[in-house]
Structures are given as C-alpha cells and as structure tokens.
C-alpha cells in the first residue's frame, strides 16, 4: 500500500508549475518551464538552410531537437557532459512529439533547431522539455495546429499517481513503479508521446491516461498564460 507521497501531494496533483516565455534574447523563440524542482529551458533557432544537403526535405522544413542535461543538473552526481544514448532518444521523441502540431511547409529545405536544456532535474525532464519547446516554437511565430502539453503519470504500488518526482521514480521496489510520460495536444486530446517504463495492468493504463488528460489541461492553462504574458501591452 502506497499511502502518502513524500511531498504531501494528492495522488492526482501535479507539482507547482511555472512558465516564462521569451527569456533568450538572441533566439528566435524561447521559453522556460518549471514543474516542481525540474527546470527546462528551450530555445528555437531558424528556419535556416539545412546541411548536409541530402537531409533536406523539399516539401517542408525539418524539425531538429536537441535535449541536453546540464552537468550540474543532477541530484548530487555530476552529469557527464555531451550526448548519451538517453539524450539521443529523448531528442528524437521530443521531435516526434512536436512535429504533429508544427507546420513548416513554408520553409522547404530548411531546418528549425530546438535546443532543450535541463537546468535542474527531479524526474519528468522529457515532459518539461516538451512543454518548454512547444511554447518556444509558438513564441517564434511558427504555424502550429495546437500547443503540446506533457506530463508523466504512473503507478506506485497500488496507487495511480500524476507527475512522479524523483523519490517515486526511484522507489525502493522498482517492480512496483510504472512511469508513463504522455504528451497531449490539449485542444483535441490526441496523444503525441506515450512511453512506459515498468509494468501496469490494462485497466490501470487507461485510468492513468484519463489522469494525464486532466493534468495536461492544468499545464496547458499555465503555458497559455505565459504566452499571453509575453506580449501583453
């Protein structure tokens, strides 16, 4: 029985969320997203011509994401700088989570670079990164069908929980944890990212997806407010 979360949250409660848009002056678009102790910043550069040329797509522009954890972002141990198997995977899934909403047909043969940097990590960094990147792309003025909101849901022992923190992710009995990051297009409720680390039953999964939808709505409101704030008169 999982009775109480370490920070006293309810099981379906997300950590405090904060978002800010337009903090990197030289970037075409930028945003910061904080959820609990996890902080992600995203910067968008481009569109610019893509080299090597054989990577170019002549029907539309290409989205290229780069996820990176700062060397000081871990809890205690220094994160080894440079790419890793994990960062490569998260870069790829950030791309595929964002490209369904992004319309780059105006920029054939070009690339849009999104750099996601994790300043501080306390679980849920890929979701925070996706939230920040979506806001940064909107800030850069690209055509987007929708925003993307992301959150991780999961199971700890018998309870379904929303927005796992580091304590829960590294629970003492790792067989008793399932971590499910979900990215959602808030307007339609369609899913652009779904992963699962651990095991849970079919019923638990569909229940968890409902929780994710609810949580993403809350995150969407924060993203929306931050974008509005940026251009308020």
């Amino acid at each position: 029985m999982y009775k109480k979360r370490s920070d006293g949250r309810k099981f379906d409660e997300i950590r405090p969320v904060e978002a800010k848009v337009g903090l990197i002056k030289r970037a075409d678009g930028s945003a910061m997203f904080r959820i609990g102790k996890t902080i992600a910043i995203a910067a968008v550069y481009g569109p610019r011509e893509l080299y090597p040329k054989f990577l170019q797509d002549h029907s539309k522009g290409i989205l290229r994401c780069n996820y990176n954890m700062m060397s000081f972002s871990g809890s205690g141990e220094r994160v080894r700088p440079g790419g890793s198997r994990r960062s490569k995977e998260i870069s790829m899934l950030t791309e595929s989570a964002l490209s369904p909403v992004l319309d780059l047909s105006e920029f054939p043969g070009a690339v849009v670079d999104v750099f996601v940097e994790i300043l501080q990590s306390d679980a849920g960094t890929r979701c925070a990164g996706i939230c920040a990147a979506a806001m940064a792309l909107a800030d850069a003025g690209f055509n987007m069908k929708d925003l993307v909101s992301a959150v991780s849901v999961g199971r700890v022992e018998d309870k379904l929980v929303v927005d796992l923190d580091n304590v829960e992710e590294h629970y003492e009995d790792e067989r008793e944890v399932a971590d499910i990051p979900v990215a959602i297009m808030p307007r339609t409720g369609k899913i652009t990212l779904l992963q699962m680390d651990g095991i849970c039953s079919k019923e638990q999964l569909s229940k968890a997806m409902q929780l994710a939808q609810e949580a993403c709505k809350k995150i969407y409101e924060v993203q929306k407010k931050a974008l509005m704030e940026r251009y308020k008169i």
Binding site: E49, V101, G141, F142, M144, P186
Partner: protein, 232 residues
C-alpha cells in the same frame, strides 16, 4: 448561427478556438476544424467582416513576389549574386537583372556589388521550392551606400510604414533622414548627420517595442518632437 469566441485585437495562442459555425471564414494564421475556426499562430485577432485572421507578433519573413527587400550580398559566382534577405534560403540576383544595360561575359561582378554590400531589390519570382529571384530594375532599387542598416521583425513592417505611409513619412519629415524599409524588416537610414540618424533609429525601435499600442503614430510624433527640442 456562428459565434465569435474572441474579441477583435485579442491576443490568442496556437490551438485556440476563435469562432464556431460556418458564418466565418478562416484567413491567414487560422484553419477550419469542422465547425470551428482555430488559430495557428501567436498573435492578435483581426476580424474583417466574415474573415478572421491573425496578425502574428513574431516570425520569419516569408518572401512574396513583388516585395521590395533589403539584403546583404553573401556570395557570388560567375553570373549571380547570392543575397541574404532574412529567409531560410539565400535569394539569387542574376547579372542580367541589374540596372546596367549589358554585362560582358567574364566580367568581375564585384565591381557592381561586392561581398557585404547592402542592396534594395525587388522579388520577381518565388518558386515552389522557395528559390527566390531578385531584380535591380525598378524605381529606387539600388546599392545602399552610406547610412546605416537596422533590423526589426518583419511582422512589424506594416506598423512602421503606417496607414498609407503615415508613420514612415512622419519620421522622415521630423528627422530629415532618408529611410527605406524592406518588407523583410531591414531598414536603411541615411541622414544629414549621425545624431539625426540615431533619432530615427530610436523612433523605429520604439515602434518595434510598442507595436500593439493604439495611436502609435501620435505617440512617436510626440517622442520625436520632444527629443528634437532636447538636442537643439
């Protein structure tokens, strides 16, 4: 019946519903999803009769045929110049399209326009693959010598020009500068002295910062006249 869900000039974000029903038509920055009209860009709503469009607040310049742009020569070969106009791809200016009558084969093109020169050029064609052709034949199209170049966001160009050029001609009158605005957001300013040029730069930056404010022309005029008195 259709309902408008937002007010005119309201700030919206991508994915936000703007109107329901078939009475309204989606224009730039919006799309129709069944009976709803949805925004695809961050910007302010502009409702014109049945048309709903978004005036974007940020974004790259997208070249259109007929636009006058200011660009920098970044490369050249035997018969073409390549011009950076702030789009993803460089634009191409052919040696056949310059104002000189005839360019002999094998001429060194740098005697006309050299690397790093700024030119005002017209866009003659934008292909499907977004290859952009430029021309130097047309009124006011030339190499921009003297003066200075500043850059603003291309979405702010209509505001800088103003209704029927009201804003830009007011700045020209007060600062006594020659100013040329490219649709891509590059602005060339050439004044009788550096002080007046700087005044024009300040005014343009002010417009770029306060794009959404109402009565901007009046405010800029006030600002310019005040600054002018201080200086003289």
């Amino acid at each position: 019946m259709g309902d408008l869900l937002v007010k005119d000039k309201e700030l919206v974000i991508p994915g936000q519903d703007l109107a329901t029903g078939m009475d309204f038509l989606p224009a730039s920055g919006t799309f129709r999803d069944n009976d709803k009209i949805v925004a695809t860009q961050l910007g302010s709503v502009s409702v014109n009769g049945r048309l709903i469009k978004i005036m974007p607040l940020n974004g790259r310049y997208i070249p259109k045929r007929g636009d006058i742009v200011i660009g920098k020569i970044v490369d050249m070969n035997f018969s073409n110049w390549f011009v950076d106009i702030g789009y993803a791809n460089d634009a191409v200016l052919s040696s056949k399209e310059i104002s000189v009558d005839y360019v002999e084969k094998g001429t060194d093109l740098s005697q006309y326009y050299d690397l790093g020169d700024y030119i005002a050029a017209g866009i003659t064609n934008v292909s499907k693959l977004k290859l952009i052709d430029l021309t130097m034949r047309g009124q006011g199209l030339r190499k921009l010598t003297n003066g200075r170049i500043i850059k603003i966001s291309s979405v702010k160009v209509p505001r800088l020009i103003g209704k029927e050029g009201s804003m830009i001609s007011m700045i020209k009158d007060i600062t006594e500068c020659k100013i040329m605005v490219g649709q891509n957001g590059l602005v060339w300013i050439n004044g009788p002295d550096g002080k007046k040029e700087l005044l024009a730069v300040e005014a343009i930056n002010l417009i770029s910062e306060k794009t959404q404010e109402p009565n901007l022309t009046e405010k800029v005029k006030e600002f310019l006249e005040k600054r002018k008195k201080e200086n003289v």
